[in-house]
């Protein structure tokens, strides 16, 4: 036992970590393919990040510095809970600064600060299968992946265009990895999709309840599906962040009163805070 908690370093037993590590290595070797793994019951509920936690627990070492975000923010309740879990069971250093972290576990966002070589981004994934809403059966979707038969997804997106004049998927927007596997990027806004393409960082995806791990190695092509006459585009705001003035970040809309009052602020709290610090220092 490494720590006073009575549990092994980073909670998981060594046999479980080895099994997860082997799955991660296969996932990296087959970019975008969902590797089944013997997901364990964690002391946090399924659906609350158990896949990401298991991946992080298998990867993290004593020298790592961990950042955990939910909705882009370090101080949301679930991010706080997961960060505490690792600080307690692994005794590792934690940070809120994107560039200071060696491992970043995330739910629903990719940080605005560009990631660097050597960093690992661990995504919490609720539903790993990109074809799940189109075909609920695992046996069928597995065949479709084997044959790279993704016609149903193109049809679905095209039906959106016929009906709404645009693709009506705004988050968890499907991507093709390395020209082969259709992949769900987890429910990040499509605003973040371009950050996955040729990222210098290693991206690992853990789905605990669904028992799948997948990966995008650094410098790997990640293409958001689109059509020649309807190219992929990301969200844009007419407003700037009310706190730091950023016009290039994903903005959360905050309701300020019951008379239609709204303000927009960066969803990435580290990015916003650092910008404000820099502005104050410059004054």
């Amino acid at each position: 036992m490494t720590h006073a908690t009575g549990y092994n370093f980073a909670y998981l037993d060594e046999q479980t970590k080895r099994m997860i590590r082997r799955a991660i290595l296969k996932a990296v070797a087959i970019p975008g393919y969902q590797v089944p793994f013997g997901s364990r019951e964690m002391p946090l509920p399924y659906g609350w990040g158990t896949g990401g936690i298991q991946v992080t627990a298998a990867v993290i070492g004593a020298d790592d510095t961990l950042k955990v975000i939910d909705q882009g923010a370090d101080d949301t309740t679930n991010a706080v809970s997961i960060r505490r879990f690792f600080a307690r069971t692994a005794g590792i250093a934690t940070t809120e600064r994107t560039e200071a972290a060696t491992i970043i576990q995330t739910r629903h966002r990719i940080p605005e600060t560009p990631l660097a070589e050597g960093q690992i981004l661990v995504y919490q994934v609720p539903i790993p299968e990109p074809l799940r809403w189109l075909e609920p059966r695992e046996t069928e979707t597995r065949k479709m992946h084997a044959l790279a038969d993704y016609g149903v997804m193109h049809v679905k997106l095209y039906e959106d265009i016929a009906r709404f004049g645009r693709i009506a998927t705004t988050y968890d927007y499907p991507v093709l990895v390395n020209g082969r596997y259709l992949m769900r990027p987890s429910p990040i806004p499509k605003f973040d999709n371009p950050k996955m393409h040729m990222s210098p960082a290693l991206q690992l995806f853990g789905a605990g309840r669904e028992k799948r791990i997948y990966a995008v190695p650094p410098y790997t092509a990640v293409k958001s599906l689109d059509f020649d006459d309807h190219p992929f585009e990301v969200q844009a705001w007419d407003q700037a962040c009310a706190l730091c003035g950023a016009t290039d970040s994903f903005l959360d809309e905050v309701v300020t009163d019951d008379k239609g009052g709204r303000m927009y602020v960066c969803s990435d709290t580290d990015y916003c805070g650092r910008r404000r610090e820099a502005q104050e220092a410059a004054q």
Partner: protein, 356 residues
């Protein structure tokens, strides 16, 4: 000024302290002991052990106490504890024919060797709230039978099997899989299917079993036998090479007997559905047996048209820990995705107005 809908560590700590206070209830009321829970809420303990996959009355009682009696939460607590336990091996198959019977009934035969043994049951009680129970006090002692139970209590399915009227239940020489170590693949073998159903949520299995009785998957079942009592657990340690008894557990076993008209390869005969649960969990064992038989539709060449016959549907959704976690994860913040949807709806509306 903008106040983020975010909670720091203090808020989480305070919420947990408040929960602990509520769990304790009025301080003037004596606190529940684990003995009281294990002894007086025994059926809840049995259910938590069954779905939690750990046979330990004390731990199950603790889980129930910690969860304020919420069975699904208690199952989750026990499961999370179970994950970290070392594994020493798999036991030999339980010999339920050698069970020390406390209850044994068959609805297929009026009488049979060993007889019908009612044992402790709510069956035939009138469900009238017992206000005397609210007052407390010791119950009248149960009468002892004039003579002990027969030593031989053959299983009904074995009796039918001697005449070839029911399908064989071959022993199988492969060691069973374990879906808590390896992810489930489809089609699943019967070993993993039964493991999944044994761990499955009782309410979910009950509803599925019920649907099979109402025409969504026709099974024509008879409760061939339900037996409850203690069985020995045996293990073969590598270094010994022979089985030693490591303890006794109480289980409820249900063998459903189902009509089968025969197929090209099989003669008409009765088929089996199997249910087994820890402790006294009769409803669970019966529901499990019905669902098990329904899931054998493909194997027996029957049309699989109903939810209860759909292996992927049943096995992927039976687990209360998975289901509870994912349903309740909707409490987590989703405002980034919601923001994305808001923006889309506004754009679509603007586009529509412009067109009109």
């Amino acid at each position: 000024m903008y106040v983020a809908v975010k909670g720091g560590e203090t808020a989480i700590d305070n919420a947990h302290r408040l929960m602990a206070e509520e769990r304790r209830g009025a301080p003037a009321t004596p606190e529940l002991s684990l003995d009281q829970i294990a002894g007086q809420l025994g059926l809840a303990v049995d259910r938590v052990m069954t779905e939690g996959s750990v046979y330990d009355r004390e731990l199950a009682a603790l889980a129930l106490k910690q969860a304020q009696g919420d069975v699904v939460e208690a199952v989750f607590l026990l499961r999370a504890y179970r994950t970290t336990l070392p594994r020493f091996g798999a036991s030999e198959p339980l010999d339920t024919a050698a069970m020390a019977i406390r209850r044994r009934i068959s609805s297929a035969f009026k009488d049979l060797p060993g007889g019908q043994v009612l044992g402790p049951t709510y069956d035939y009680t009138h469900r009238l709230l017992d206000f005397a129970l609210a007052e407390g006090g010791d119950p009248a002692p149960a009468a002892l039978a004039p003579e002990p139970l027969d030593a031989a209590m053959p299983r009904v399915a074995d009796v039918l099997g001697q005449q070839g009227l029911i399908e064989d239940n071959p022993a199988g020489d492969e060691s069973p899989g374990d879906l808590t170590r390896q992810p489930l693949n489809f089609p699943a073998g019967r070993d993993l299917r039964l493991q999944n159903l044994a761990r499955g949520d009782e309410g979910f299995l009950l509803a599925l079993a019920y649907s099979s009785q109402r025409g969504y998957g026709n099974t024509h079942p008879f409760a061939g036998e339900i037996r409850m009592g203690n069985v020995a657990v045996e293990l073969v340690p590598e270094e010994l090479g022979f089985a030693i008894e490591i303890g006794e557990i109480a289980v409820t076993e249900c063998q459903m007997i189902n009509q089968f008209k025969g197929s090209k390869t099989r003669p008409p005969q009765f088929t089996r559905g199997y249910g087994l649960a820890f402790g006294r969990s009769e409803r669970k064992a019966m529901a499990m047996a019905l669902v098990d038989r329904s899931l054998r539709a493909g194997e027996l060449g029957e049309d699989a048209t109903s939810p209860v016959q759909d292996e992927e549907f049943v096995l992927a959704h039976s687990d209360s820990v998975e289901a509870s976690g994912f349903v309740q994860h909707l409490k987590l913040p989703h405002y980034v995705d919601f923001q994305s949807e808001l923006e889309l709806i506004r754009r679509l509306r603007a586009g529509k107005e412009a067109a009109e």
